[in-house]
C-alpha cells in the first residue's frame, strides 16, 4: 500500500490509532484540506497548528464527522469511520465556545451525553463524580454556565469531554477565550489530564507557543496541506520550509538580507543564535535601531543596509545606544538555508539535546 503519511516518531506499529489517508474537502474560495495524510499514535498529544484558513479546523471537523470528506478515508482504532455518524466514532470534542447548554446546570451539562445514551443512574453518578474530581469542579454542580467564570466554563467543557470515557478527544482552540494568565495554567491541566487518562488528544490552535508547549507532535498546516509534522524540538531545530521556520518560535526565525559568499537564496537564523560582535569581526554589518527589555533577556533590534529589522536575543539587560554599529555573527551550522521557494536546502540535521 502506497501510504504517504507524514512521518511521525513513534509510529512503528502495524496500524496507528488514527490513520488519515488522502483526505480532501474543498470549499468554494479555495479553503479546505487537500490530499491530507497523517498517522497519529495512540495516547499521543497532537496539535494541528497554522494560521487561520489553513484547514486545521476543517481537519478536526472531518475527524469528528461534522464535515464529510469529498474523498479519502479516516480510520480510527482500526475501523473505517469515514462515513460513520459522529456519535459512532467513539470520540468527544471540546469547542472553542465550549458549547455548554445554557439552561442546564453543570451536572446536567456533564451528564448530557450519558443520559442520551441511557447509561444507568449508578454508573452515571460514579462517572460524574470522577469527572468533577478530575476537573476540580466539586461544589459547582448546581450552577448554570452563566454563573461560572471563563475558566470554570472551560473546565465544564473538559469534564463533559472526559466523562464519556472515549479514547479520543478533539479540542478546537479550547483556550482562546481565556486570559493569558489562565491559559498558561489550563495548558498544564489539560496536558496532565491527557496523560492521566491516556487519551489521544488532537488539539487545534493558531498559537505556536501553545502547540509547542503541549504537543508530542506538532502538525503545521498551510493552505490545506501539511507543511511539517514533527516533535516540537525537531520542528524548531529542523524546519523543512521557510514557512515552518518563521511560524514556529518566538521571536520568529530572523531572515537575513542577501549575504556575500552565500549560495543559498534565503538564510534564516534563530534570534538566540545571533551575536553582536565588534565591527569587522562578524559576518554582517548592522546598526542598532531599538531595544526591548523583557526581564531575563533583551531583544536588540538591528538593521543592515537593506532588509527588515533583525532581532538579536541577548541575556540580561543590555542597552546599546540606537545607531551604534556592530557586526552580526553566528555559527555556520546555526544557519537554516532555503531555496527560492522556501524549501530547506542544507541536509544536515540538528539535534536539540535537553539541557541538564
Amino acid at each position: 500500500m502506497a501510504h504517504a503519511a507524514a512521518a511521525i516518531p513513534g509510529t512503528s506499529h502495524a496500524e496507528p490509532f488514527i490513520r488519515i489517508d488522502g483526505l480532501n474537502r474543498h470549499f468554494a474560495g479555495g479553503a479546505g484540506v487537500h490530499d491530507l495524510s497523517l498517522d497519529i499514535p495512540r495516547g499521543s498529544f497532537t496539535t494541528l497548528l497554522g494560521p487561520s484558513g489553513c484547514g486545521k479546523s476543517t481537519t478536526l471537523r472531518l475527524l469528528a464527522g461534522l464535515e464529510t470528506p469529498d474523498s479519502g478515508s479516516i480510520r480510527i482504532d482500526g475501523r473505517d469511520v469515514t462515513t460513520l455518524a459522529p456519535s459512532e466514532r467513539g470520540l468527544s470534542m471540546v469547542f472553542q465556545s465550549y458549547a455548554l447548554f445554557p439552561h442546564l446546570s453543570v451536572k446536567d451539562n456533564i451528564e448530557f451525553g450519558l443520559r442520551v445514551r441511557r447509561v444507568p443512574a449508578g454508573e452515571r453518578r460514579a462517572r460524574l463524580n470522577e469527572a468533577l474530581d478530575l476537573t476540580d469542579l466539586r461544589g459547582f454542580e448546581a450552577r448554570k454556565p452563566a454563573q461560572l467564570s471563563g475558566g470554570q466554563r472551560q473546565r465544564v467543557a473538559l469534564a463533559r469531554a472526559v466523562v464519556a470515557g472515549h479514547p479520543l478527544c478533539l479540542m478546537d482552540e479550547p483556550l482562546s477565550n481565556l486570559d493569558a494568565k489562565l491559559r498558561h495554567s489550563v495548558r498544564q491541566d489539560i496536558r496532565r489530564l491527557q496523560r492521566r487518562l491516556g487519551m489521544t488528544v488532537i488539539y487545534v490552535t493558531h498559537d505556536q507557543t501553545e502547540a509547542m508547549s503541549m504537543a508530542d507532535t506538532v502538525v503545521l498546516m498551510r493552505d490545506g496541506r501539511i507543511e511539517q509534522a514533527a516533535s516540537p524540538a525537531d520542528i524548531y531545530a529542523n524546519p523543512t520550509t521557510e514557512f515552518a521556520a518563521t511560524f514556529v518560535g518566538s521571536p520568529p526565525i530572523q531572515m537575513m538580507p542577501p549575504l556575500s559568499g552565500e549560495q543559498a537564496p534565503r538564510v534564516g537564523i534563530r534570534a538566540e543564535d545571533l551575536h553582536l560582535v565588534e565591527p569587522k569581526k562578524g559576518l554582517l554589518t548592522v546598526s542598532v535601531t531599538s531595544t526591548e527589555f523583557l526581564g531575563a533577556e533583551t531583544y536588540i533590534y538591528v538593521r543592515a543596509t537593506e532588509g527588515d529589522d533583525i532581532i538579536v536575543r541577548a541575556p540580561g539587560r543590555v542597552e546599546p545606544a540606537p545607531g551604534t554599529s556592530f557586526d552580526l555573527d553566528w555559527q555556520p551550522e546555526a544557519a537554516h538555508r532555503f531555496d527560492q521557494k522556501g524549501n530547506r536546502l542544507a541536509l544536515h540535521r540538528k539535534t536539540l539535546v535537553p539541557a541538564e
Binding site: 469528528a64 455518524a85 470520540l91 470534542m93 458549547a99 439552561h103 448530557f112
Partner: protein, 291 residues
C-alpha cells in the same frame, strides 16, 4: 443641588410621560370604573349611583356567559394552535432549504395585511356556493356549507382566520430566537449521539422558553383584543355564536348606547387580564433567568 430643586427637576422630567399616561390610561380607567357604578342617565331620569347593579345585570344575562364561553373557546384553541404552528414553521424556516427568504416572507404576509382586508379575503373563501372552500369540497361531492351562517361552524371559521393571521407573527419571534442559539450546541449534541427529537426537546424548546412566554402573553391579549374580522365576517352572529368580549362591549356601548354596562364589562376584562399578566410575568421571572 438642593433637595427641593432636585425634586422639581424630577417632576419636570416626568411631566410629559405623566400627562400622556394620565390622559390616555389613568383617567379613562378611573372614568370607566366610575361610570360602571351608575345607571344609564336620560333626559327624564338622571344617572344615579347603582353600586354593583350593572355587574349583577351582566352576570344575570345569559348573553354575557355565552360571550365569555365563546372567548374561552376562541382563546383556548387559537393560542396553543397558533403557537404550535408558529414553532413548526420557524423550525422549518430556520433549517437549510432553498428560497428561505421567500418562505419567511410568505409566512409573514398574513401579519402585514390589515385585518379588515384579510377578513374580506376570508369572506370570499367562506361564501356559500361560490366561495373557495365550497368549490373545493364540491369537487369531492360534498354539499355546500354556509360556514359563517350557522352556529355550529361560525366560531370555528373565525378561529381559523385568527390562527392564520397570528401564526406568521409569532413565527418571526421564534425564528429570531432560534437564530440566537449557537450552532455549536447542535454539534455538541450530535457528537453525544443526540437524535433530532431529543435535541429539540432537551435543548431547543427549553432555550425557546422565554420566547414562548412572551408569545403567550401576546396571544392572550390578542385573543381579547383582536375583533376586527368580526365586523366583516359575522358581526357576532349567528345567534351570538361568534360574539367575543370586546365586540360585545362595543355593541353594548355603541349599538345599545348602554355605556354603564359596557363600562362594567370593560372593568371585568381589565381585572381578568391583569391577573393573567401577573401570573405570566411571575412565570417568566422564574423560568427565564438563565440568560
Amino acid at each position: 443641588m438642593k433637595p427641593r430643586s432636585q425634586s422639581l427637576y424630577a417632576w419636570m422630567l416626568l411631566f410629559p410621560a405623566l400627562v400622556l399616561l394620565s390622559t390616555f390610561a389613568f383617567y379613562p380607567s378611573i372614568a370607566t370604573l366610575w361610570s360602571s357604578l351608575f345607571t344609564r342617565g336620560s333626559a327624564r331620569r338622571p344617572a344615579k349611583f347603582n353600586e354593583l347593579g350593572n355587574y349583577a345585570d351582566l352576570f344575570a344575562d345569559p348573553v354575557t356567559w355565552k360571550v365569555i364561553g365563546n372567548n374561552l373557546i376562541y382563546a383556548g384553541v387559537t393560542i396553543p394552535v397558533s403557537i404550535a404552528i408558529a414553532l413548526l414553521m420557524a423550525l422549518w424556516a430556520d433549517s437549510r432549504m432553498p428560497a428561505k427568504s421567500f418562505v419567511r416572507t410568505a409566512y409573514f404576509t398574513p401579519t402585514m395585511l390589515p385585518m379588515i382586508a384579510a377578513a374580506n379575503l376570508w369572506l370570499f373563501f367562506y361564501t356559500p356556493g361560490i366561495g373557495l372552500f365550497d368549490r373545493i369540497i364540491g369537487v369531492f361531492g360534498f354539499d355546500s356549507v354556509n360556514w359563517l351562517g350557522q352556529p355550529e361552524t361560525a366560531l370555528w371559521s373565525i378561529i381559523l382566520v385568527t390562527i392564520w393571521k397570528e401564526s406568521g407573527f409569532f413565527m418571526i419571534f421564534y425564528l429570531a430566537a432560534l437564530q440566537t442559539i449557537p450552532p455549536e450546541l447542535k454539534e455538541a449534541a450530535i457528537i453525544e449521539g443526540t437524535s433530532r427529537w431529543t435535541y429539540l426537546r432537551r435543548v431547543v424548546l427549553p432555550l425557546l422558553m422565554p420566547t414562548t412566554l412572551f408569545v403567550l402573553v401576546n396571544a392572550l391579549i390578542n385573543s381579547v383584543r383582536l375583533i376586527d374580522h368580526l365586523f366583516i365576517l359575522t358581526k357576532g352572529g349567528p345567534d351570538n355564536a361568534t360574539k367575543l368580549i370586546l365586540y360585545y362591549i362595543w355593541e353594548l356601548a355603541f349599538s345599545y348606547l348602554d355605556a354603564p354596562h359596557a363600562a362594567a364589562m370593560t372593568v371585568l376584562v381589565l381585572i381578568a387580564l391583569g391577573i393573567v399578566a401577573t401570573i405570566q410575568f411571575r412565570l417568566i421571572d422564574k423560568r427565564a433567568h438563565y440568560r
